[in-house]
Symmetry: C3
């Protein structure tokens, strides 16, 4: 089992748990919690697949993903009080997942022969847009558009990947290095409270 | 005309009216009301078709659906005050529609050779996600994630369907029985005020 | 370069700027601003392509669109204060874009052999639904469902187009005339404060 597969599974767990917890905080019922867990984990990849025309979308072909999400859902349902103590590991799982999802999205774009810029966009979508859909469903402005370095980590990872490829690094190594780059950027950003700038003034155009 | 077709048409009427009324209550203009009627009636099936790759999506191939929606829209525009007196029939139409839409979604999944679990998911999506899209468009947390037994009825109907198939019940009978199961679960749940549990505490993780 | 291409580019600029400004007014960071610029410009066409099954969707095949959006984004980032003085030209660009996008949507529907009514629906979607997705992402009820003659202009343009075709007007002339009709309806509606009616009362059904 490749390290990227491990990252992918850890990320799916972290994303599903993040969706389930967001749903619980909004007082959704246990069906709503299930859907939010699901959508947060597979939403980004699903959007990607729909836009490029890879249907049925990936999660319908991958029972591992579905099983991991259902398992994470049950853990949240029955062990929510203990999750408080797992904030740190869950943050790391989330970062690993962000790296793995970015690579999956890029690989999917390459399989469809798309321009590297589009591949990076698809990688970012895969990593960051499950959370966007989660936030829309609970009626909030998506977190990733306002706070924290998140999508930016995906973009940097994507650039690292294509840079390494252009330097004739073997593809598998470039993938692992790019995923690690995503993880490192994400962790450094959180550690040092780095944010993207905002531009606005009082007078709205 | 099969009884499922009748259920489907009654459901389309009820769903379109529910979308139109939700739009009016939010002070949308008559274009917004039209779009909400449309999206509530066909949104679930459209999401299903897009995810499995059945395009152009079903409502573009079925003028009956479009005609029924436009008719329901005109009824709401010109006879809204009378709809107050039709709450009960509209509730039953909605339940019949939920049953029919669930079966349509399951059948679509089977036609694409998907796993029974995925077929049940697609049936639930077809029945319940038009309302989800309606609620997102009027800026509310989807009702089906918070209140009432709704999606749960679809899931139970789907399980009934595959149980009957596994007992060698002929497919058409299994479909009608499953649709009836959805309707019965929905009506019983409303009658006895049954809800799905919620799990939360004051301390957010 | 056809006049419709010019309209299309001006519209893409106006739509991207409208998305970017909406994002800034909601205090999104510069990644959020980029995504909103993008989604507002290509969201309608993307929805259209996904529903009819034209994938990868149009903007993945058209680097002009992507370049124009990125350019508009940079202009907003670095020259936002000056945009105040450009309200009027941006309104005209937006109207030209609405016309061009409507025609593109109709043409796409015709290429898929769809019924004229569906083609008009796709044209309206292409013109008006980028703004719908923009508003959902910033957590507002879509503007086009509540205010101003906007989608209605697309519908009227679509009807003009098929009327002219049925009178044996050459297709290219019909397209330009229909786009101009959209622009004129839009400008007249704003000039004379025309709105679609709303229907509601205090007693909600």
């Amino acid at each position: 089992m490749s390290i990227l597969t491990v990252f992918d599974i850890l990320g799916t767990i972290a994303f599903a748990i993040s969706g389930a917890l967001a749903a619980m905080n909004k007082r959704l019922d246990i069906f709503g919690v299930l859907i939010l867990a699901f959508v947060t984990a597979v939403g980004g990849g699903t959007l990607r697949d729909v836009l490029i025309g890879y249907t049925p979308v990936a999660w319908m072909r991958n029972y591992t993903t579905i099983t991991v999400i259902l398992g994470s859902y049950l853990v949240v349902l029955f062990a929510k009080p203990y999750l408080k103590h797992l904030k740190k590991p869950l943050f790391y799982f989330d970062s690993f997942g962000l790296g793995a999802f970015t690579i999956t999205g890029i690989a999917q774009g390459m399989a469809f022969g798309l321009h590297p810029g589009l591949c990076v966009a698809l990688g970012t979508m895969t990593g960051a847009f499950g959370g966007v859909i989660r936030d829309i469903l609970i009626n909030e402005i998506p977190h990733v558009f306002r706070k924290e370095i998140y999508a930016t980590a995906c973009i940097i990872g994507g650039v690292v990947f294509f840079l390494l490829l252009s330097l004739n690094v073997e593809r598998h190594y470039a993938e692992v290095a790019a995923a690690v780059a995503v993880v490192v950027v994400r962790i450094v950003a959180i550690r040092y409270h780095l944010y993207l700038p905002k531009i606005y003034d009082r007078d709205q155009v």
